[in-house]
Every structure is written in C-alpha cells, then in structure tokens.
C-alpha cells in the first residue's frame, strides 16, 4: 500500500491543524475538511483510505455523513472521533469501524487509524 491518505473531518480548525501535524509526521497523507460539505467534496475528489469523523459539527451531525459514506463505499473505514463518549450508545454510530473519544493524547486515535488501515490491507 502506498502512503495512506486520511481525511479528517472536524469543525475545530485548530484540531485539524493538530491532526495535520501529528499524522503528517507519522507518514500519512493528510486531508482536512471543516464542514460536511467540504468533506463530501473531498471524498468526491481524491481517493482517501480512511476518514476520521467528528460527530457534533456546526452544521449537522457527522453520523449523517457516516451513513452516506457507508452507503456509497462500504469498505472505506471510518473512525468516529468525538468529545462525548456516550454517542457509542447510539445505534447509528455502530456503522463506524472504530470509536475514539477525543483527548489531548492522540495515541488511541493513532492506534485506531493503524488498526483500521491494517484490516483493510
């Protein structure tokens, strides 16, 4: 597999900056989207290998985008990354390949990304 491309979707610009820096250093190609529309545009363009998706976005729920992604490209892994742990109880979140609670320590998110990319080959 060539350098994997990861799309981060979050309305927190600073977090996108952080992901770009941290995951760039890990050797990933990083794409970012600060809104649902921007994410749809990014997904329609360059192929990505994994999406890290926030749930509570300014203009709507990331869970809606999750359903769209899984309907269009079921094999594209999606990692939900959110500040609120209890979204795991919501039935719609079960579509995701992994669920990570946001933390200043990115280790768990990195592990989830590695695991999901590994499982998809």
């Amino acid at each position: 597999m060539s350098t994997p491309c990861v799309l981060f979707v979050d309305d927190e610009e600073g977090l996108l900056e952080l992901y770009t820096s941290a995951f760039g250093r890990e050797g990933y190609r990083v794409r970012t989207a600060a809104s649902l529309d921007a994410a749809r545009t990014a997904l329609a363009g360059e192929a990505v290998d994994l999406v890290v998706l926030d749930i509570r976005l300014t203009e709507g729920s990331g869970l809606a985008l999750l359903r769209e992604i899984k309907a269009a490209t079921p094999r594209l892994p999606v990692v939900l990354s959110t500040a609120y742990a209890r979204y795991q109880d919501e039935f719609s979140s079960w579509l995701a390949d992994a669920y990570v609670v946001k933390s200043s320590d990115l280790a768990e998110l990195k592990r989830a990304v590695r695991r999901c990319l590994g499982t998809t080959g």
Binding site: E12, G14, L15, E17, L18, S21, A22, R25, R56, T82, A83, Y84, A85, R86, K102, S103, S104, D105, L106
Partner: protein
C-alpha cells in the same frame, strides 16, 4: 367497625344471644326495606364515585355491605384477581361469634354509625381491619380454577356448590351460606366480594343480594378508576423523568463538545511541541497561539456556563400576584386526597386581597410540596384527628403562607437545617422536597422558615415581599 341493627321481633333470632340481637326496629314493610336499600346504595355510590384510593373504596363498599343500617351482612371480604389467583385483600367484620358479641355490643353502646363516616374513615381503623383479617384473607386466597371469578351474576353458595373456590371459601369461613358477588368488567373478571351471616344466620334474600351486587359493581368501577389514576400519575412521573433525562443528555453533549474540544486541542498541540522536532520559529509561534486561543475559549465557555446556571434564578419573571388565590387553588386541589385519607385540610385567607411579589407556578409548586409533605407525614404517622392547616396572612412588609400539620416533628438531624437536603426518616422524602421549596422561594426573593413553636404542630412559613 360496622354497627349491627338486629330486630328482636323476628322469631328466628330469639335464640341468638343477647349481644347479637338486633335492636328493636319498626316493622319493616317491603316498601320501607326498598327505600332503605336505595338510601344505602345512594350513599355508598356517592362515596365510591369520588374516592381516589383503593383502600378507601374497599372500606366504603364492605362497610356498606356489613353495617346494620346498610345491608347487614355479618362480614365481607374482597378478593382481587392477581395473575391466576384470587387474592384476599381486605375484610370487614368480626372473626368469631365471641368477637362479634363484644364488638357489636360496644358499637351499640357507643352508638357508632359507620355509614356516616364512609367518606372519611379513620385510617387507623381501616389499617386495623386489614391487619386483623390478614391471616383469614391469606387463607381465602385461591388459585382460579374451573370458572372461578368468571361469574357474571351474584349467587348464594353453599357447602355442596360445584365450584371449588366457593367450597374453599365456605370451608375457610365455616359458613352455611355465602353471598358470592362477582366483579366483572368488559375486559374480563376482576375479582369477587364474598359475604355471609355466620353469626346471625339471617337468610340472604334476593333483594339484599341484588343490592349487594350493585355496591360491588360500584366498587369495581372505583377500583378501576383508582388504578387508572395511579397509572396516570406513574406515566406523568415517567414523562417528567424522561424530559429531565433528555435535557441532561443534551447538556452533557454540549459540555463535552464545548469544553473538551479546546482542551484536547491545547493539550494535543502541547504534546506535539514536546514530542516533535523543534519546529521553525513561525510554526512554534503558530502552535502556541492556537493553544492560547483554545485555553481562552475553554475559560470563556466555563464562565458562560457558570453565568447561565446562576441566571436560571434571575430568569424567573416575578410579578404582583394575589397570594390567597394561588394558595387556595392548590389547597382545593389537595382536598379530595386529604378527604380520602381522613385528614382535615383547613384553608384560611382573609377577605381582602394579599398581593406579593412572586411567580404563580413557582408558588404553586412550593405550596404543593409543603401540603403534600404534611399529608404524607400524617398518613405515615397515623396521628389521631390529623389536620393540615394552610393560612395566608400579612404584616407590614410581607405576605406569609403558613402550612402546618399536627404530625410528627422533623427528625433531629433535619431540624437543624431542614432545607439543607439531608434525608429524613418518618417524613419520607421531606429532605429533598424542602430543598426544592427553598430553591423555589429563593427564586422569588422570599424566604422559608420551619418552627415547632406551637406544641404538637410542625409549621413551615413562606415569606414573600408585599407588593404595592
């Protein structure tokens, strides 16, 4: 305990021991007897149409069946269908001939007229009857079999009755003849009331059986209504809890999003700076600026949250309201419940209007809590002659709402600061209810006090600022 009225003129009763004889009564024509039955039915129907508690409904119906000036049965028992069992739940009347002699003599001597207290029975007596009959009621309980409880019409059962339930009851009660009064609704059987004359051995005549069945129909309707009321209250509690849960859930999500995002960002970038090779000057400056902005955002959001919580109180829109009207409305709403528990709920307000600065719905909730607290305390304590007193009055600066009851005082721990939230013993739920009262009163810029200055009375006084 039901009053006996026994006719000495009736030849078949001449052999009955003196204490068990009915008192002399005028010759009763059929017309008199019919009028008497109708009067009894009318009286008990009125009560059964308004009761809100199952115990009181059962008591009223069984007393009407057994009172001398009622239908005159010696004793009666209520059995309700629970699962596949007809379970004995309530009974009225003596347990033995000896007990009947003693009790009826006392009733005659004291001239007790049970029908006059149907609507407001003494809770002590009601509970006493339940306890007294507990053993017998347990023995009367029977698994439903071979059409038990499926009867549609009243009948008189005897020892040779084909139904096993009837034979079981006759055996347990050692009865010669048993009035079996089924309780049936359109949805199926509810239970049965059984009654007999095991002491006087008076025959159960068709007119009495028919009147008894009418009372039992009214009892079934009353019990159905109390069940419906209970389920409505339960549903209301569930809805309120669900609304609270939804609000809390949304608050939790908002808090997580608004606070955790900037904190995760600041911490994450700080870790990056620690772990990553030293960035260029511009990059370092940019990261530090993002961290500073994130921390500042978290601080601001925290301040907004604190202000938001504090402002919940100031959002209350206070106005000049007539306090007596609001308090009177709440007291009137509690009146049926107080009546059903045999508690006198007395409300006093002066003829003139007493206007204070308050918020009607908050004041209502506050008074509801305090009256409800008094009624609960009195029910649990079984105080003789229980009273809840509600009064509205004024002085130069304030309008006062006083809610007092002659129940037990607050527990020692709670008395030091009744509104602190400490949980109570005898007054169940008092602690949390009083916390709520204080918050409500605070929100109206008033104050609430507790005292036991009047011996035997527990008193809460809400003080509200006078208006105009």
């Amino acid at each position: 305990m039901p009053r006996r009225s026994v006719s000495a003129k009736r030849p078949r009763l001449q052999r009955v021991p003196a204490p068990l004889r009915r008192p002399p009564a005028p010759a009763r024509s059929t017309r008199f007897r019919t009028a008497h039955l109708i009067a009894t039915l009318h009286r008990v129907s009125e009560v059964l149409e308004t009761v809100v508690e199952a115990d009181q409904a059962a008591w009223a119906a069984l007393v009407a069946l057994t009172a001398g000036e009622g239908l005159g049965f010696n004793r009666a028992f209520l059995l309700l269908l629970q699962g596949d069992e007809l379970r004995g739940l309530f009974g009225v009347g003596p347990r033995s001939r000896e007990e009947a002699a003693a009790v009826w003599a006392e009733i005659r001597q004291r001239e007790v007229r049970p029908l006059e207290r149907l609507a407001r029975p003494d809770p002590l007596v009601v509970e006493g009857e339940r306890v007294r009959h507990a053993d017998l009621l347990a023995r009367l309980s029977h698994t439903v079999a071979n059409g038990c409880a499926g009867w549609r019409r009243a009948f008189v059962g005897r020892a040779n009755h084909p139904n096993p339930c009837v034979r079981h009851w006759i055996g347990v009660l050692d009865s010669e003849a048993l009035a079996v009064l089924p309780m049936m609704s359109s949805e199926g059987p509810w239970g049965v009331v059984i009654a007999d004359n095991f002491v006087t051995r008076a025959p159960i005549v068709p007119a009495t059986l028919e009147a008894a069945q009418t009372i039992v129909h009214a009892l079934r309707a009353a019990l159905e209504r109390t069940r419906l009321l209970d389920s409505l209250h339960e549903e209301q509690r569930r809805l309120v809890a669900a609304e609270h849960a939804t609000t809390l859930l949304e608050t939790a999500r908002t808090l997580a999003h608004d606070l955790k995002n900037p904190l995760a960002l600041a911490g994450g970038l700080a870790r990056e700076l620690v772990n990553a090779p030293l960035p260029t000057g511009d990059s370092l400056f940019k990261h530090l600026a993002i961290i500073a902005a994130a921390v500042q955002r978290a601080e601001e959001r925290l301040a907004q949250l604190a202000d938001g919580l504090a402002s919940q109180v100031s959002k209350v829109s206070l106005a000049s309201i007539e306090v007596g009207q609001v308090v009177g409305r709440v007291a009137a709403a509690f009146q049926p419940l107080a009546d059903s528990r045999g508690i006198r709920l007395v409300f006093y307000r002066p003829a003139r209007e007493l206007v204070a600065v308050a918020e009607p719905s908050l004041l209502e909730r506050c008074v509801e809590n305090l009256i409800g607290n008094g009624l609960e305390a009195l029910r649990e304590a079984r105080t003789p002659a229980p009273v809840v007193r509600v009064a509205v009055f004024e002085n130069a600066d304030e309008v006062h709402v006083e809610i007092a009851d002659n129940g037990p005082p607050l527990p020692g721990l709670l008395r030091a600061d009744p509104f602190s939230g400490a949980l109570s013993g005898p007054r169940s739920g008092t602690g949390l209810g009083l916390v709520s009262v204080r918050r409500l009163v605070d929100a109206m810029s008033g104050r609430v006090e507790y005292d036991e200055r009047e011996p035997g009375w527990v008193r809460f006084t809400v003080h509200l600022r006078r208006s105009g």
